[in-house]
Structures are given as structure tokens and as C-alpha cells.
Amino acid sequence: MTLPLGDLVAIIPELIVATVACLVLVLDPITPPSRTHWLAWLSVASLVACFGITVSRMDATVTAFSDLMILDPYAGYWKLLLYVVTALTILLSLAYLRVERIHLGEYYGLILLSLAGMMIMVSAADLLVIYLGTELMSLSLYVLAGFKRFEVRSLEASAKYFVLGSFSSGILLYGISLLFGVAGSTRLSAIAAAVGTHGLDDPALLFAMILLVVGFGFKIAVVPFHMWTPDVYEGSPTSVTAFMAVASKAASFAAFLRVFLEGLGGLREKWYALFLVICVATLILGNVVAIVQTNIKRMLAYSSIAHAGYALIGVVVAGQAAADNETRALGLSSVMLYLAMYAFMTFGAFAVVALLRKGGLEGEEIEDFTGLAKRQPLAALLMLVFMVSLAGIPPTAGFIGKLYVFMAAVNAGLTWLAVVAVLLTAVSAYYYLRVVMVMYMREPDPSAGLVSRLTTSPALTLVLASAFAGVILLGLFPDPLVSITTSAVLPFK
């Protein structure tokens, strides 16, 4: 069989990313060690090219490979977000890897492979393809988590992530196979049709749905499938943690929304309740446990769990059976908006953590930030902005994101949920501001030898500036993003 050219054209960005990944892997051994950063810049260049291609196709909806892949504005939106985050990760890694003395060219190759998996996830319209994309993404992340090979914590994180990730993949695959049994196909459209004919009470369908909830719940790290998050986030190299916390979560949300809205949209009544419970549990647990953390990476891990909870509010709204299409579309677009906002502020926070050094080791305890405002005023200011944004204080991006999500909830008549979420936002101020407090309201302790220095490089400046600009600009000018998300959710109306 010959491949239709049109199909290949449709997946050019995926092809570019996969090809450059291979290219980086091949070039790595023949590149002199002093030149390895060229590989990073090559990767970034390929992402820029992909960005351009995806932007130029944003308005069209194309299907390829007999409906296995779909390129719609929804997928385009997520891809753009993923490109940006991946590019930021690579640039952050440029500085971070040097300090951590990780000199493996495979790093960039694996990041790109992971990105390829994410891109497949967001534009797949078939459960099997989504599953393979998820696996490609996760596999690369398992390896990346263990990249600090001299640190026990890193290896441990890698192993834990791998074992639990495989376990959750197994559950996901079991769900997919049951759906295949019911529908006779893994296409989302076929599954939607089968849901239509089987009705709401088909036990295999319900069981499969729950298995999918568990499988995706693990990837987006919601309660009670969140247990791995703090351990893995804490142990992984910080640049990888940032990538995981932002890109992998965004891609998983994208695939998960498509599966549940398009494939299992007919079961809305059933999964609505599940997500409501998960959402509330996630919000409460994430925010409350974050209060007592002393390690900033663990704190940010719980914060990312809590943020997944906020995003889930939008999913709950999108699944409300009683609501009209308009309301549900608002819920969906609020999720998309929220994750974009979340991406910038979380990435920024991790970037600052990544570059804070204490002696030769990484400064990871919140106490290590003591008096940072005196030692590194600029880094402290950036961290302040990211923390303020995470706490949802205007006029930062975090506020706009929360505003939209809560607005969607109130609009759908879920005022009580908004009340709970708003109250927990008040709680979250406590732990975010503790970081600000130690930075601004404590004297640096000279005796403890906390001579912290911020490793600076042009790439790093670019990363911090982009994250900062993202947080501030999306806060002040959210209009373009709002209109993109609004048009991107049209297919799900």
C-alpha cells in the first residue's frame, strides 16, 4: 500500500519532531562536547518551524489516515502550547544540565520524542493511537526522570514513575480493550455511536469508562491517583519536573477531554458525577497538603495537583448534562485557558527553582530561599510574580484563568463548587506567600554558607523572560487567547 501524500502532509509537524529527535541522537556522538548546545538550538529551531506550520493551519480541520488523526483548531491550540513549553524546557536545560553535569545528548532527543508522543495524543481521534502517544510520552519521561544518575532520588523517581506508570497504562489499555469489545473499533466516532446504541446502563461500557478515568487520572495527577506526583517531581531533574508538570499534564488533559467529550460524550451523565467528586477531593487535598511541605518541589507538586483540580472544574461544567451547549463550551474553553496560564506560571516557578544553587547542590528547601530578595533581587521578584500568579491574584495570568473557570462554574449553576474552590484559593495564598515571606522578610543567613548564585546565560534569560512575559501579558491581554480557545472548542458544541 502506498501512503497518501495528503496524510503525510497533515502530520508534518509530528514528522519534523520525530526526525529531528533521531537527528539529534545520531549527531550526539559525533559532536564535540563543547558543542553539544548546538543540538539544543537545533531542537529549538525545529520547534519554531513546527510552530509556524501549525499556526498557518490553525483554522482548518483536516482528518488523516482514515480518521485516525484529526487536525482541528483544538489540536492546534494544544500543539502550540506544547511547542512553547518544550522550547522553554530545552532552553532551561541548556543551563541546568551544565550545572548538574549531565552531558548526555540523548536528553534532547528524548525530550523531542516525548513531545512527539504528546502531539500524537492531542490530535489522535482513535483510542489506540492515543494510547501509543501516551506511552511514547511517558516512556521518554521515565528515562528523563532518572537522568541524574548519581542521585538516588532521581533513580528512585524514575523507577517509581515507571512502575506506576506502567500499572496505570495497563488499566487504561484494559479500558480501551473493553471499549473495543463493545464498539468493534477504537475510533472515537465509532465508540460514540456504540454509546448511542447501548445506552447508559451497559455495564461493560461503564466499567471501561471508569478504567479510562483511572488511566487518565493518573496522567493528570488527580486524587486518588496522585500519589506518585510528589515523589517523582521531587526526585527528577528540575528541568524535567517542569516539563512533566506542564507539558505532560496539558497533553494528557487534551487527550482526556477529547476522549470523554467526543467518544464518551453520551455517558456525560455518568462521568459528570465522577469528576465532580474527584475535582473536590483534588482541590481539598492538593491545597491542604501543600501547606505543610518544606521542600519547594514537593510543594509545587501538590500545587500542581491542586491546579489540576481547578482545571477539572471546567471539565465538570463541560460534562453537565442539564446545561446547554453554550455553557458547556464555556467550561471547555476555560480548561484550555487555565492550562495555558498554568503552564507559564508553573514553568516559571520551576525555572527559578532549577537555577537556585546552594553550594554545589540544588537549593530545594523553601528555607533555602531565605533572604533571596537581598541576594538575588531579580530572581526573587520573578519568583514573587509566579507565586502571586499561582495564588490567583490580579492582574496576573493566574487570576484570569481562575476567573474564567469559576465563572464557567457559576454560569452552569455550580455555585457551591465555585465557593469551595474560591475558599481553597484563599488557603493556597498561605503556602505560596510563605515562599514570598522567606524571600522578602528574612535576612539571609551568612553563617550557614548559603552563598547562592544564579547561573545566568542568554538561554536562561530568555526562559525567565518568556515565563514572566507570559504571566503578565496573559494577565493584561487575555483577549487573543480567549478568542482562540473559544473558536477551538466549536467542534465539541
Partner: protein, 173 residues
């Protein structure tokens, strides 16, 4: 005859599965796993899936179990003290009961089953392997390619994690 064989293969598979995780000696576990895989292969045969049957034996029973056994022998693992308590038995029985219940519940559903898209004549004339080939390279081409990329990632990952740290890694900045 099919029900008899089916019962035999299924029961032995379950038993072998339990033994795989329960036996104290790692090598015994490996052998139990082998038994499990062979009996699952038998189930494939009952379903007229000759190709899968062969692959199951060659890849899993052949390559993977042998690999496991090699690793076990190289590491010379000891059977060490394990902590046991019968409180766990209750949990285990409960879990098994719930799982069984779930399965029964799921099976009550009217499955449509996949009939496949290869023409019946082709399967009859050229055999299941041929039909699978046609299907993989037509309908599942994209998935096949993605699996290719996936395996590449897996190989690289294994190398990265296994590679002896080089001098560059430990050298100061």
C-alpha cells in the same frame, strides 16, 4: 472439545499467574511465568489466531523469559525473608471477589466483538498471518509506525540508564 481446552488453559493460566507472584524462589517464579505464557498461547490457538500463538511462544516464552532467567542467574539473587500476615489474605480474598464481580458485571454486556476487515476468502486462502499483515500495513499502519518510534525511545532509554558514567559526567564544571 473447545470448552474443555478453554477451561484447562484458563485455569492453569490463573494458577500459574498466582504462583508467579507467590513463589519464594525467583527462578521458580520465572518458570511459573513460562507456564502462564504457554497457556495463554493455547488460548490464542483456540481462537484460531495461529500467528499470535507463534509470536507468543517465540517472543514471550522464548526471548523474554530466557532474558529474565539470565538476569536472575547473573545477579545470583537469594531468597530472603518475606513478611507475611494473614490479614493480607482477607484483603486479597476481598480483592479477588471484587475483581471477579467486576468481570462478571462487564461480561453481562452484549459485546459486538471485532470481526476484522480482512476478507474471509483471503484469510481462508492465505492464512491468518497473511491477513494480519494486510491489516497491520493498511488499517494499522500509523499505529505500527508509532510503535516503531516508541521502540526507538525504549532502546535509547535503556542505553542511557545502563551506560557506565563517563569521565565527562564526574568532571567538575
Amino acid at each position: 472439545m473447545v470448552p474443555v481446552f478453554f477451561s484447562y488453559f484458563s485455569l492453569v493460566s490463573i494458577l500459574a499467574g498466582v504462583l508467579t507472584v507467590a513463589l519464594p524462589n525467583p527462578v521458580h517464579c520465572g518458570l511459573a511465568l513460562l507456564t502462564l505464557l504457554l497457556h495463554v498461547a493455547g488460548l490464542f490457538l483456540l481462537l484460531n489466531a495461529e500467528f499470535l500463538f507463534v509470536i507468543q511462544i517465540i517472543v514471550y516464552a522464548g526471548a523474554i523469559v530466557v532474558l529474565y532467567l539470565f538476569v536472575l542467574m547473573l545477579l545470583n539473587l537469594k531468597t530472603d525473608e518475606r513478611v507475611l500476615h494473614h490479614r493480607y489474605a482477607v484483603i486479597l480474598v476481598a480483592a479477588a471477589a471484587i475483581c471477579g464481580g467486576l468481570l462478571l458485571m462487564a461480561l453481562r454486556s452484549p459485546f459486538q466483538g471485532a470481526k476484522g476487515h480482512a476478507p474471509v476468502e483471503a484469510v481462508l486462502q492465505d492464512g491468518g498471518s497473511y491477513a494480519i499483515g494486510i491489516t497491520i500495513f493498511n488499517e494499522y499502519l500509523l499505529q505500527f509506525e508509532i510503535v516503531g518510534v516508541f521502540l526507538l525511545g525504549a532502546i535509547i532509554g535503556a542505553i542511557v540508564l545502563a551506560k557506565t558514567p563517563t569521565a565527562v559526567d564526574v568532571e567538575p564544571e
